[in-house]
């Protein structure tokens, strides 16, 4: 096993990985940009090294600086987390060349799966259903138009290197096709320096369901059930569930078999996620494979009891999987809400700024993975994820109720967040019934709803109380002032039973 692991990431996922390192007795090495010197992941790590200025490209995306930190610290392995360099085959190769174990699949596997055309070809060859569309990228406007007519509108245009909602357009009618194609090509080139474009069939109100898989170096491949990730805004997940409320044993066995087949077809190792689109007729289509830990892995941990990061590390160290397929139960139901510093009323724009006060929920069934603290300044340089809140219950109903309770306990002051949005989602009748799709937020949620509430009396009362509050800095606790303590004590001493027999 490794003695030291460098975590090539920041925020909640870096802290998540540090926690497992602690649990298994491995020293954790954090890296940080100059904007992150006081970040929580640095404060919680065993060691930390600066890897450059605030922009990611100069720090968290800078392989040379990261490998130098790894060398300096004596780390033997690198955990890339999600985002940043986690799906960068070159970085995985550079790690290997530097004698470091990259905690993830082989570089060639990462490469195959990050190229959507290649991945698609592999899936077709292995009998895994893919979305009808051009088998490769649509080279020219004419080719793309022809494919679209073949598969029928609506179609979706997608930049080959895109993701996270960038470089995507839905075209519903032939007439608007040309303009949309040009726009995506421009955006794709500007964002990814890659103007290749896919054309695929577009589905109205599909579900987005992914299967968690694990493969060890000994050739065992298992699945850890699925996650329902349909609740998205701007193509980014905000609420995830495990298991999916639409799943039955028949569909699950077909989807998990396809996911395991996908992993086997590329000799996959480590943790991976196979994303599927599921249409209204319960047909499923391969979307992509993520060759790293997912943001939403915690809900799988809650229902299976398995520490996914621990398995990742052990597999990378050459150990076989600690669990067999038949030993993995899907116990109860878990929901995750991603709490972002963002402004749902203003196109979900990131809302960086100082976190003046923050209270995270606690209690039965609640897990919190928070990346910030009171006084932290949410940076405009990075993903504005503040925390992940996960709730477990014996049933989906119990998990949902517990999540609502947790969201009510959650208090974040100073930055705008999507907390109110989450409450709307979890209270929605369609969500309650499990009738969700990727169009859910657009169809069912009004980010400006609380603007409609015009009862401001409590706010006025609070502000007035603050104004009247003695500005001595000391809070008034009127209650204790009138008593003679020693007398009270003697009285209490005679009768009080509080310490008895708990």
């Amino acid at each position: 096993m490794f003695n030291k692991i460098l975590i090539a990431n920041r925020g909640e996922i870096a802290i998540r990985i540090i926690r497992t390192c602690r649990d298994i007795g491995v020293k954790s090495i954090a890296i940080y940009s100059e904007a992150d010197r006081t970040a929580l992941h640095v404060r919680r790590a065993d060691e930390a090294y600066c890897v450059g200025p605030p922009p990611s490209i100069e720090s968290y995306l800078n392989p040379e600086a990261i490998l130098a930190a790894a060398k300096k610290s004596g780390a033997e392995a690198v955990h890339p987390g999600y985002g940043f360099l986690s799906e960068n085959a070159d970085f995985a190769r550079q790690c290997a060349q530097a004698g470091l174990t990259f905690i993830g699949p082989e570089p060639e596997v990462i490469e195959k799966m990050s190229d959507k055309t290649v991945a698609r070809r592999i899936m077709i060859k292995n009998g895994i259903p893919v979305i009808p569309g051009a088998a490769g990228e649509a080279g020219s406007l004419e080719d793309a138009g022809k494919v679209s007519l073949d598969i029928g509108f609506p179609v979706m245009l997608k930049a080959a290197s895109g993701g996270g909602g960038k470089g995507i357009r839905i075209v519903r009618r032939e007439q608007t096709f040309n303009d949309a194609f040009q726009a995506v090509r421009r955006e794709a080139y500007a964002s990814f320096a890659d103007s290749r474009i896919f054309v695929e069939k577009y589905f109205d109100s599909p579900r987005h369901i992914e299967v968690q898989i694990f493969a060890d170096q000994q050739g065992h491949v298992i699945h850890l059930y699925e996650r329902e990730c349909s609740i998205q805004r701007r193509y980014q997940k905000v609420v995830e569930e495990c298991p999916s409320p639409c799943m039955d044993e028949e569909l699950r066995s077909r989807m998990t078999a396809a996911a395991i087949q996908a992993a086997k077809s590329v000799n996959y190792t480590g943790a991976g996620t196979v994303e599927f689109l599921v249409d209204k007729e319960r047909n499923f289509y391969f979307l992509e494979m993520n060759t790293r830990i997912q943001v939403e892995h915690s809900i799988t941990e809650m229902v299976t009891g398995i520490d996914l990061v621990k398995e990742q590390i052990f597999i990378a160290a050459g150990r076989p999987l600690s669990i067999r397929q038949e030993d993995i139960a899907c116990n109860g139901s878990a929901i995750e809400c991603r709490i972002y510093a963002e402004d749902p009323k203003n196109s979900y724009l990131p809302a960086p700024g100082p976190v003046k006060k923050i209270t995270m929920p606690q209690g039965p069934g609640i897990r919190v993975d928070c990346g910030v603290f009171t006084g932290w300044d949410v940076s405009r340089y990075y993903d504005p994820l503040i925390a992940k809140i996960a709730a477990w219950g014996r049933s989906r109903y119990e998990a949902r109720r517990r999540m609502l309770r947790a969201l009510d306990e959650c208090m974040i002051f100073g930055v705008k967040t999507n907390l109110g949005l989450h409450k709307q989602i979890l209270n929605d009748d369609n969500f309650k019934a499990g009738e969700i799709s990727t169009g859910f937020i657009e169809d069912r949620v009004n980010p400006c709803r609380d603007e409609e509430i015009d009862d401001h009396d409590l706010a006025i009362i609070t502000a007035l109380c603050a104004r009247l509050h003695r500005p001595t800095g000391k809070c008034e606790k009127t209650v204790q002032s009138g008593h003679d303590h020693s007398d009270l004590w003697r009285m209490a001493s005679k009768y009080q039973f509080w310490a008895t027999r708990f």
């Binding site: 909602g165 960038k166 964002s191 701007r234 402004d343 203003n346 196109s347 724009l349 990131p350 809302a351 960086p352 003046k356 006060k357 405009r380 009510d408 208090m411 002051f413 100073g414 705008k416 907390l419 109110g420 409450k423 400006c448 609380d450 509430i453 015009d454 401001h456 009396d457 409590l458 706010a459 006025i460 009362i461 609070t462 502000a463 007035l464 109380c465 603050a466 104004r467 009247l468 509050h469 809070c475 008034e476 606790k477 009127t478």
Partner: protein, 166 residues
Amino acid sequence: MEIKAMVKNRLYPVTYGMEGEKIRITIEDRTYLVDAVCPADGFFSLLINGRCHDAAIEGGDNSYTVLVQGRADQVDFHDPRKRRPTDDLKRSIKEGRQSIHAPMAGQLIRLLVQPGDLVEDGQGLVVLEAMKMENELKSQGVGKVKKIFVTTGDVVKPGQELLIIE
């Protein structure tokens, strides 16, 4: 005691006075008997007719941001006893007027309005490309575009004033 409170461009008349250890507060025609204590700096616990409300608060003097029942609101007071009430009012009015700032650094790729245009609540004003996304900034109320400080193609800093609506 009398005071005026401004929330979301609406002015509320407020009267208040102590009643034992509680405060009697009347907002418009609604009266509350409030037991308010401060459990920790920046927090208030209100008990009104048995009901508990936990609130967080920032600010001071006459301007506060309050977080209660999961909602954040800006509350500004205008004290009629003050010598120069106009100062407070001016500020309040300024709060009503919209000054559109860039929420993030980015590039201005489209202007959707011109000076003099009447805008609706929610109407798009400018499109800012930031974080590789095109983001439309919207008006938060009705008004008239008074001034525009930027042109298409400008790279703006976070917080930079883009336009004014009155």
